[in-house]
């Protein structure tokens, strides 16, 4: 019971802090003081107090977009085990539901962007779905590989399955999975080198262009959903990359939170040292990630 409560608390409260840590890391690299760690929370509170402006051309789809997206990601957050603990909801085959909850979230973000009738947002939607076509197989193949190794289709079992012993025995395929999942993590969360979450109104951006027309609480919901998505995909990455257990339940939660913060620092470092890729190079890297995970599967299958 306490584990379920802690799971929900972490899933609800931690995500904006991750964004704060990333911003702070980037500021440190640039030699600036940077916004405080809790700035994303203030931003969210500020947005929630504001009023919304809805264009007269939009319909209910536009208003439903952010809410459905957040709801789908919240359910996904309940399905994924954080650290070494089983998730509150888990059943056989929930990995498929998990992957398609992201699909649903993306569909509603894209359809809300198309609903505004702006060609600029349509372009963003087209890019988003094109690139997600390439990241989805990677995530799926990675999950299938783990399912095959753990002989279970349940996210809670297959993600808590990796242990240091398995890393020693099948190090090559685990390493391939970790690299592929890190690329997925960056691409799905619209981080550099795929997309720049801090630019607005630029022709090269992907995700940010789709949410230009949202304002006030709706935009706050979108921001919060994006942060939550970072936590969910980060949890998958950490479960595979850092399969340690302290033996103590509270110790494991602490390890998870610290690992999540370290992962945010890592993302901040990647964003600081890399430039955004040219648009034509992005599919190449994403296909590369798919091939890495397929290769890991091949090594596990033989």
């Amino acid at each position: 019971m306490t584990d379920i409560i802690i799971h929900c608390l972490i899933a609800l409260l931690l995500p904006p802090l991750l964004l704060g840590v990333i911003t702070k890391t980037k500021a440190a690299f640039a030699g600036r003081v940077g916004a405080p760690f809790f700035q994303p929370y203030y931003d969210l509170l500020k947005l929630m107090r504001k009023g919304s402006v809805f264009s007269t051309t939009t319909t209910w789809v536009f208003k439903a977009g952010p809410l459905v997206t957040l709801a789908a990601i919240l359910v996904a957050a309940l399905l994924v085990p954080l650290g070494r603990h089983h998730a509150p909801i888990s059943f056989q085959g929930d990995m498929v539901l998990f992957a398609y909850l992201f699909g649903l979230a993306r569909f509603f973000t894209a359809i809300a962007a198309l609903d505004t009738g702006s060609s600029f947002e349509g372009m963003g939607a087209a890019r988003e779905v094109t690139f997600s076509c390439l990241t989805e197989p990677t995530l799926f193949i990675a999950l299938i590989t783990l399912a095959r190794m753990s002989r279970s289709l349940q996210l809670s079992t297959l993600l808590t399955y990796p242990t240091p012993a398995i890393w020693l025995a099948a190090g090559a395929s685990m390493l391939l999975l970790v690299v592929a999942l890190f690329i997925v993590l960056l691409a799905e969360n619209c981080r550099i080198p795929f997309d720049d979450p801090t630019t607005h109104l630029e022709l090269t951006m992907i995700h940010e262009v789709m949410v230009l027309d949202h304002s006030g609480p709706a935009f706050g919901v979108i921001l919060y959903g994006a942060a939550l998505k970072l936590l969910v995909l980060g949890a998958i990455f950490i479960n595979i990359a850092l399969p340690v257990t302290t033996g103590n339940s509270y110790g494991d939660w602490l390890v998870f939170v610290v690992a999540m913060l370290v992962l945010s620092v890592l993302i901040g470092v990647v964003e600081s040292v890399m430039a955004r890729l040219r648009m034509v190079r992005i599919p190449q890297l994403l296909v590369g990630a798919t091939i890495l995970s397929a290769f890991a599967m091949l090594l596990v299958l033989r």
């Binding site: 025995a169 190090g171 090559a172 391939l176 091939i291 397929a294 290769f295 091949l298 090594l299």
Partner: protein
């Protein structure tokens, strides 16, 4: 020790894919150098230590990892070759083909009647995958210099296969193969220089038609 050799072979296969997907010439040359150096370490892992083994390891690392890449990049510099590799088919399709070939190599290696002690190892699939990747680089790139790189990858594939036989393969044969390779690269370097002086382009697709001056 064999599991470590397997990890290195996975790395070798990854380098194949990296080379198929990369667009930079110098990057490919460096990748093939790293691949050669990894292959140099491998014999030391699967055979008991001896003076002859140490000599072969040092020789392979020096020639495949340092000397040959140096000769190729020298040719690139002298012939003023542009840094893109200019493939006939795009990078993503080649990468896909490479991945399919790697998968097929695994399937094919399963079917081969191998000695039981070699069944569990990655040597045979890695060797076939590297061979096919070499063929792919040889056939899909326009520049003569990338074809040299393809040829090197091809040779690396053959070398991995040879590792299974090193018990029976005397030092002289191995040294002879390395020497042949070295001379081959040397000659190709000169030929590429000549081509670039004569034709101001080393695009092999333009060298098909013969014409009188």
């Amino acid at each position: 020790m064999n599991s470590f050799a397997d990890q290195l072979l996975v790395l070798v296969m990854l380098i194949n894919l990296v080379m198929l997907g990369s667009s930079r010439l110098l990057f490919s040359i460096r990748a093939v150098a790293v691949q050669g150096a990894i292959l140099g370490i491998l014999p030391g892992l699967i055979h008991p230590f001896s003076g002859h083994l140490a000599a072969i390891t040092v020789g392979i690392i020096l020639i495949k990892g340092v000397l040959i890449p140096y000769l190729i990049s020298d040719a690139v510099r002298k012939a003023h070759i542009r840094r893109e590799v200019e493939p006939f088919i795009g990078y993503v399709p080649t990468l896909f083909l490479g991945a399919i070939f790697t998968a097929l190599a695994f399937v094919f290696a399963e079917k081969l009647p191998l000695a039981p002690e070699h069944k569990e190892l990655l040597f045979v699939p890695a060797s076939i995958a590297t061979l096919l990747a070499g063929f792919l680089i040889l056939t899909t790139r326009k520049k003569a210099i990338s074809q040299v790189i393809g040829y090197l990858v091809l040779e690396n594939g053959i070398f991995i296969f040879g590792l299974l036989l090193t018990e029976a393969m005397p030092f002289m044969v191995e040294a002879g193969a390395l020497l042949d390779l070295l001379v081959g690269i040397f000659v190709m370097g000169i030929v590429i220089n000549q081509i670039s002086q004569e034709f101001s382009s080393i695009d092999t697709s333009r060298l098909r038609a013969l014409k009188e001056e």
